[in-house]
Amino acid sequence: MYAIPYLLFSRLHQAAISARRRDRTWHYLLWSACAGVLAGLMLAFGASLLLLFWRVGLWPLALVVFAIMIAPVVAGTLTRHVFVPLGWLRFAFYGGLASKPGADGEAYALCCAAWAFARKPTAKGEKWLATHRDLRLPLGDAEVVVTGLIAAGRGDDATARALLRSSEMLVESHPAVRELVGEWLAVDAVERGAWAELYDDAMASRWPATPLTYFLEGIAARRVDAEKLPSALELQARWLLAPHRSKTRVLLTTSPSGYVARSTAPEPDSVDVVEPFAVETAPLPRAVAAHLALDVHAPTPSALATTVRAWDAALSDGATHAWLARRALELDAPLGAVDRALRELTTTVTDQLARKADAAHLGAPTSPGPVGDALARRLRHGRLDALETGFSRWAQRRHDGAVRSAIDEWREFVALHAAYSAAVRAGGMELRRLAFPHAFSTGSNMAAWLWNARNEYALSHAISKWLLAEALVVGDAEAIELGHRNTSLSVPTRLGNVEEQSSRTRD
């Protein structure tokens, strides 16, 4: 009966935290204040009871009170400020578990241990984490996040970023785990200066925000010159709420030297290329200058388009042909040297531009001409071939019976998903329509196999969901029908069965 007030405070505290996770307005601060007050009340109540038991000599009961009433309140803070910085994996694990993160607390606890590993990586720690992760079947978001944080601890930031972001595709969602993902990505974005990326995440509410994430999102809004900026007072409040105040103060007080672009959308085609070379008027020198400018600057869609158009103009220009014919005669070049030189020039230029476009994930610009046509063909075929090889390899492994761990299956899917997205982003709708049938046939088979033979429900559901989204974009009726059927299945997870309403049902 004496514990009733504590239980009440605890329930209210959990409710305030849950409400905070759904909000990114001033309510966030209100819910945080409520959660803080309730945590204080829980702590005061627990400490009073502990002292009482201690005074009357019931010290074993005092210890129980500490474990049940005080430890859950302070465990989160201890984990963040003591266990993680010291790299104490097991302490971080039990700290995470004690902080009562909700259903399936082990998932969050494992992520806290991985966080401690990311801070102080050791071979022993990695083995411990991998063992505990592999024991948890089927695959869920926590296992993916743990793998991402292991990669971060090894210094492989790109893999960590891809894996942490991929957890969004999984239907199993531990709010406390997603908060950690959001914080890692936010801090990583600040380190890279990717303010627009952080702002986009905030606008899409991709991850529930920790106080640190919420503060950084406010700074990001200022840096990208967002339409709706948090007021100075609100930003101060966010800063006060976030940990590491002495280190984040610099973000609050420093006004940015210049705002970065708000949108991460590709640059419009009309943007002029800044060429380091003199702008020529004759078509051929202009084409060569534009080509060399691509070597000097990072290629952009507009720079590539300018170069391709310049080459197409130069190669169809009568002056170029006349100059080549005259010089071929003067040099006593063999018969047909002019045509051969033009063909060789086209091939060389197309090869070089295709390499640059591939490296920068750029699409082929529209330019009817020898270079424009050849480049479009080359990029489309090259990207399609690469995608088909990847998907075929994935499908072949299932036929060979080469069973991999669930996390490796996920990593393969994430890599294929990234390759597909990059290819269709660069190649446009035409390439998307050509690439989808192969992705659909392989992906559907893999999803069915993972569901039926491997019991990897969340993984299978993520693949089906992605295929459905793609089918809707390309308008494949058969794939849409199958996708709706697959994604409407109830997905067993550790947090219970999850049934997502398909858009068709909603309609």
């Binding site: 801070r119 200066g193 303010w195 590491h244 020529e280 020198p285 071929a328 063999p334």
Partner: protein
Amino acid sequence: MIVDNPFFILGIPADASRIEIEREAQKLLGMLELGFADAMTYATPLGPQARTPELVRAAVAALRDPYRRLVAELWARHAPAMRPAPPAAPNAPAAHPGFRKQMGWRP
């Protein structure tokens, strides 16, 4: 076709005669043999490149072939002169190196 252009390797104009080409190649090979610093690099519109005796011999061989000379001329004659790279954009996004470590997310 720019950094390995025979005309740039030999440091001669695109309208150089055959005699000029041979003479310049012999001079460069001698200078490289003696280790002259001036001969160690050659200028291109994409910046200086390292010059070796093998490159010089290959360049001379290429220019003896009328067809290969024609292609080399096509690039060399129309290549722009090198201009200094523009200064870095003043409004570059402000990165915060070491921020992840400060926030306890990196070793």
